[in-house]
Amino acid sequence: MKLKVYSLKGVEFEGEARSLNINTKLGEITVLDNHLPIITLLEKGTAKIGLDGGKTENIEIESGFLEMDDENNLSVLKD
């Protein structure tokens, strides 16, 4: 899936991702390919982006939003 992480400082991550593990208001979730369209509220924590080839990248999140649309595009708005 295509992942884009937006912040007021610019786009912090853009590219293909296998998975995204993130803290939401209702608990920790992992978003995989072709997840159902969802919009949810993020909580403080570390977002772990699973890249192709088993590597991971971490992004600290204070608060924000996550959106998955019907075309496999995942967007994260963070502060």
Binding site: K9, P37, I39, T40
Partner: protein, 310 residues
């Protein structure tokens, strides 16, 4: 006629001032570019946030304390100027608009209604104090800020006061950056929040001319029929999104004001160094003329003495 020494001294002094204004000109140009870039970097975020707002408002009615208009008893006026001078008429323009706003605001005739002020920048503070208007809070040092964390104290203060109904309306008066040569004063009501206005404001982030003017809005339209899962609920999501939009808007106002300040300083310093150069040329010519006159005088004296000795 002025003596050679004093002319020389003046010439050097003008040259030194020219060097200083030239340096300030270059620094201002760089800072302007930085603020402009920071404003543009946040644009993808702004568009995405608006996109979310639209999706959420389709399924839920907008209902937030920040959006509900209420009876306005107190208006908070945020006057945004610079900390330092040497920027031509920049501060004067902002302060004049502030004065006009106060004079023409329709709430003025209302007996129960009152104003209070937040000064951003030392010049605003000095002005408000001189007019003995009630300053609730002062914020300094915003002129070089380009990080979003740095405006947090102002943002939180404004929000807190609005939620606790210390004030019912927030108006900002600042400079809007249209291009490096053109800035306009801007009076904007940021609370209660109007989503239509925010949409308009985001579009204005693109400067009209110059390096960054060509960039376009990159959002795809027509995604109306996606069935989203909303967690926890559309209403709660909206309530959380709105403060983000507000923060973004305030951040932009500050960045715009900064870009304008540096642009104004750049222009002022440019004309100052041009003037210094011109003056320095005139002084050199004058210096040479005086020097030549002195030499001619000495020659005449020598010739006269010689002929007298014969």
């Amino acid at each position: 006629m002025e003596s050679l020494q004093s002319l020389n001294r003046r010439r050097k002094a003008v040259g030194n001032i020219g060097a200083i204004t030239k340096a300030m000109e270059v620094v201002a140009a760089i800072k302007m570019r930085k603020s402009e870039e920071a404003a543009l970097d946040s644009r993808p975020y702004a568009f995405k946030a608006l996109d979310l707002l639209e999706k959420l408002s389709r399924v839920s009615k907008l209902e937030s304390v920040l959006m509900r208009p209420r009876k306005v008893k107190k208006t908070m006026v945020v006057v945004i100027t610079s900390d330092r001078g040497l920027i031509g008429s920049f501060n004067t323009q902002v302060l004049r608009v502030a004065e006009n706003f106060l004079a023409s605001d329709k709430k003025r005739s209302d007996q129960e209604h009152s104003y209070s002020f937040i000064a951003v920048g030392k010049k605003a503070d000095a002005y408000l104090a001189k007019k003995s208007l009630p300053i609730i809070e002062k914020f300094y040092g915003f002129g070089d800020y380009i990080e979003v964390e740095e405006i947090a104290p102002l943002y939180e203060y404004l929000m807190q006061g609005f939620i606790e109904t210390k004030w019912d309306r927030i108006v900002t008066i600042s400079m809007h950056f249209r291009s490096a040569l053109k800035q306009e004063t801007l009076v904007r009501e940021i609370l209660p929040l109007d989503t239509e206005k925010i949409r308009q404001d985001v579009k204005e982030i693109i400067p009209e001319h110059g390096l960054f003017s060509g960039e376009k809005n990159g959002n795809r339209a027509g995604a109306e029929d996606i069935e989203y899962i909303f967690e926890p609920s559309p209403a709660e999501l909206l309530a959380n999104l709105i403060p983000h939009l507000l923060k973004m808007e305030l951040y932009h106002l500050i960045l715009e004001a900064n870009a304008s300040e540096h642009a104004a300083r750049y222009v002022a310093m440019k004309s100052a160094s041009d003037n210094a150069e011109e003056l320095s040329e005139k002084l050199i010519i004058q210096y040479n003329k005086v020097r030549q006159a002195a030499i001619t005088g000495e020659m005449v004296e020598m010739a006269a003495t010689r002929s007298a000795l014969k």
